[in-house]
Amino acid sequence: MELDFGTEFDTFREEVRAFIKGNWPPADGNLKSHENERAFVMAGVDRGYMHRSIPKAYGGSEQPSDIIKAEIIREELTKARAPAGRIPGNGLVVPVLLEWGTEEQKQKWIAPTLRGDIIWAQGFSEPNAGSDLAALRTKAELTADGSKWIINGQKIWTTHGHKATHMFCLVRTEPDAQKHAGISYLLVDIRQPGVTVRPLVQMTGQKEFSEVFFDNAETPADMLVGERGKGWNVTRSTLKHERSGIATMTWSLSMFRDLVKLAKEVERDGQPAIKNPRIREELAAIEGQLMSLTYSTYRATSHDVHGRDVGPFQTMPKVYMTDLAGRISKLARDIVENDFVDMGGERLKWIERFMISLSMSIAGGTSNIQRNIIAERSLGLPRDKSQGATP
């Protein structure tokens, strides 16, 4: 049993560090500039540090798969607060294109996506199709000459819909086919007259997602990814590319570190809140849960590297993390007391986290849907279609 990465990776880490140091922060000091970010990511691709699993022909750096190197790169980028070239929607569409796209589609879409010149939104959910996604009704019809699709319907909760240039979406193309068999995966330029994007205000007050209306919107026939009516399989394959558990774990670690800092900063009864036995004990209890997640993630990663079965843990990190984030934000609430109601006060970040931690229980499959998946895949309980685990 061994937890460090081993000395053979020390030189690699040094190289990554030196690269970041030489390229970030940018010379002009502008951390927000899209150009600077793009230049950094492109230099990272040249060095083989970014977009490692993507072939050179499509703008990636085509490196042999190595979970440990990938983790070292991620750690060093995070430490330096340097861009990692990841845009949420883009990370979801690229693996789909690689697996299902035609050669032309790969050539055309992947490289600009990696550069961040195209920003993708995910158009899956609809007002009447959430957990039961296959109930979706937005329809696309091929024109008589077969040159383009005409799209009508509505998507909702589309993250960054108003910032995106394009959408990858699921639409109904075979109205007479069975529920799951009538769906296709389409790419659409959403900056066109037939598309209306209406930002929705989230409970945090921010405009992070949108409604998207299609009114005779158009997209060329060759924007279909995979076969007609096979869209359900196309999206299901993205499950394999779900982001690594390590990212989940790092996010919770940093939230926990902030919580400890908060408990030391805030005074209660004339001493730091962290000295209060109830707060102290709950903080330690949260840490125990976090350590469980952390070391089980290391275990899972090691098992992956060695081709061993990870076992039931595989399906668990998302709900575990969601519960943990809720528990962390509730302890923060207990620590800040009256500041918990003051949206203009110094603890706004924690009020927001109290809410944002909830979005994790909804977005990307609700916690209940995750529980259904755990029940079936990890506990081997009998399949139940109405419970949404494996349509």
Binding site: S302, Y320, N368
Partner: protein
């Protein structure tokens, strides 16, 4: 990074598991549990484990042991926890660790070979009063010990007792002046005694003072490992029962409410494996993190184990509430694991201190 068990470790777990399948099925555990009179361990099973070399795992090679690590004992403890095995591994391993880390050469060469084969049985006496588990709470002192230690595993049978004292760790041999009284403990798979010392002659372990906290950490790790094994078994038992038991014309596994209860049990249990592994590994290899990790593992896993056994009873309905079912064996082991070496709450506060909060 290689955070996984080696081929040798997997083979060790396999051979212990096979032995347990043979010699420690639930019927056997019930039989031991229900024996009339004072609770007793399963001498036949223990000697089979000794033959296999289990007590030798943590004994250094120069003292006729296998020279392996705590993690190796812990994965065996997990397997024993899974089977609710009525054997004295906990006290015996801790006495062995105490002598090998803190003993003089003479003490080591006298005791370790005997402990390695199981010819002698060892145990540890830590707790004073209802909760005085930690070294700074030990008040007995000197080489003539007077006072009472509680929840001492198998003191009546032990050939050697390592006693936690204000001076560190003392060694008391069978035949010295002490009396034992078997506690009517809920867990009849691992009997415990109250031991009363009365000017009992003892030897000091030379490095006892420096070793005491580390020894308590080993206790925490082994209890966490046993708890993981037990909790995992309870989850599996409940899942299997849900697939088999029918109500309303279908397997109860089809009811979403019950499914979510089972998921919650698995979600509490499965990820905690990494924590107990880490605590064992830290004890062996990361000295500055070891106490913190041990307390976290002890708190987290014994807490979960007890809760999971409650959920297991609920998931089984009426049959789960009976004496003849396995559920209560596990709940009672979980009760001892929860209390022994200090409650989760005390360990969380210790972890907080150690984190420098």
């Amino acid at each position: 990074m290689n955070f996984l068990l080696s081929e040798e470790q997997l083979a060790l777990v396999d051979s212990v598991t096979n032995l347990l399948r043979d010699k420690c099925d639930p019927l056997r555990v019930h039989k031991i549990f229900d024996a009339l009179g004072d609770a007793q361990f399963d001498a036949e099973l223990w000697s089979a484990l000794c033959e296999m070399g289990v007590p030798a795992i943590i004994v250094p090679e120069e003292n006729s042991g296998l020279g392996l690590e705590l993690v190796d004992v812990a994965i065996v403890a997990e397997a024993l926890g899974k089977a609710a095995a009525p054997v004295p591994l906990l006290g015996h391993s801790l006495a062995t660790i105490a002598i090998s880390l803190a003993g003089s050469d003479a003490q080591k060469s006298k005791w370790l070979p005997l402990l390695a084969t199981g010819e002698a049985l060892g145990t540890v006496a830590f707790c004073e009063g209802k909760s005085g588990w930690m070294p700074d709470e030990w008040t007995m002192a000197g080489l003539n010990l007077t006072g009472t230690k509680t929840l001492v595993p198998n003191a009546a049978e032990a050939d050697v007792i390592i006693v936690g004292t204000a001076d560190g760790l003392a060694l008391v041999e069978k035949g010295s002046n002490y009396t034992t009284a078997r506690v009517n403990s809920a867990d009849r798979t691992r009997p415990v005694d109250t031991v009363t010392f009365d000017a009992t002659s003892a030897e000091l372990l030379p490095r006892g003072k420096e070793t005491a906290a580390h020894l308590m950490d080993a206790a925490s790790v082994l209890l966490a490992a046993d708890s993981f094994g037990g909790a995992e078994h309870c989850v599996n038992m409940s899942v299997d029962y849900a697939k088999m038991r029918e109500q309303y014309g279908q397997a109860i596994a089809g009811f979403q409410g019950l499914r979510y209860q089972l998921v919650a049990m698995a979600m509490a249990t499965e990820p905690s494996r990494g924590l107990y592994w880490y605590a064992a590994h830290a004890w062996d290899a990361i000295p500055d993190k070891s106490s913190h990790a041990a307390s976290q593992a002890k708190a987290h896993l014994t807490d979960i184990y007890l809760q999971v056994t409650r959920d297991t009873v609920e998931a089984h309905g009426g049959i789960g509430f009976t004496w003849e079912h396995d559920t209560h064996l596990y709940m009672k082991r979980a009760m001892l694991n929860w209390a022994w070496a200090g409650t989760p709450s005390r360990h969380r506060l210790r972890a907080a201190d150690l984190a420098g909060w």
